[in-house]
Subunit: 174 residues, 2 copies
């Protein structure tokens, strides 16, 4: 744990090892989350993101190779916390539309963690003159941002549908 | 733990309790992080964000009140993971500029967690017709986004400074 972080190269490698563990945890978690989702659109967005996450793992393996390092996962406590908490919420009993809203928020927390991490990694790679590696981080970063935006759209659609289905109730109350 | 999430109101309250715990953890953690920072600009950004985070806690207490609920913190495993991991990295031995880069990334992971959470909370409050509460979440969301952008600027400035100071070394190597 108490390795040295003397240079930005050390920090970059440290964070690549963290994300390697983080992405692998996401690969393990996503199939169960997709199974809990009720909306077919949400289910397929999660399934597609699983395939994308597998590509992100491979991309990190390429980065290790380009750095002349063996792939090594360093336990990512942050992603573990985010996934554990998401699982706790999703496993609570509730209406399917409410669980879907909870799944979307949990998934967005995962995306945002990755956006913060790959954003820093891309900036560091740029500073270190590692342009090929910077490009790989940039690709993943763009995909995480797109996944986050898609989840926002799904959330809006779900909330609008809920609003529409509640309309007669509201009219009754007036 | 296995409460019911039958409606969006339940989920909103559940998440407010989660964020109440999360923000309080950030209030506890930030002074130590600011102390570890070497750059005076980073140190003051973290100190200002501490004051802002205390306001976010108060704002959540107002939300509890507006919902007719007692303030209650629900253990936020995700924030705990993010902060524990940040602390592990920051406590590693290294050059001050590298530790500053690590602090900025950790802080951005905190901001991004909160951006994901308050983004969902604001959308849910809107759907539930809780406009005053939506506005409070929106204010915090804007402040978290601004804090994240400030950290990105500080990261860039730090990397540029590092590049400038390495210039003679590079010329030597040519």
């Amino acid at each position: 744990m108490f390795e040295k972080l003397n240079s930005l190269d050390d920090l970059l490698l440290h964070e690549v090892q963290d994300m390697y563990h983080a992405e692998k945890q996401v690969v393990k978690a996503l199939p169960d989350v997709a199974e809990q989702a009720a909306s077919p659109e949400l289910k397929s967005a999660l399934e597609e993101h699983l395939q994308q996450t597998k590509v992100h793992v491979k991309r990190l393996e390429r980065v290790f190779e380009m750095l002349g390092q063996e792939p090594k996962a360093k336990k990512c406590k942050a992603m573990k916390g985010i996934l554990d908490e998401g699982e706790d919420t999703i496993l609570e009993k509730g209406s399917s539309e409410t669980i879907d809203a909870a799944i979307i928020m949990s998934a967005q927390k995962v995306e945002h963690y990755e956006i913060a991490a790959y954003g820093s990694l891309a900036a560091w790679a740029d500073m270190l003159g590692l342009q090929d590696i910077k490009q790989l981080f940039g690709q993943t970063l763009d995909e995480e941002k797109a996944a986050d935006e898609r989840l926002t759209e799904l959330a809006k659609a779900g909330l609008n549908q809920r609003a529409a289905s509640k309309q007669p109730e509201k009219q009754f109350a007036e």
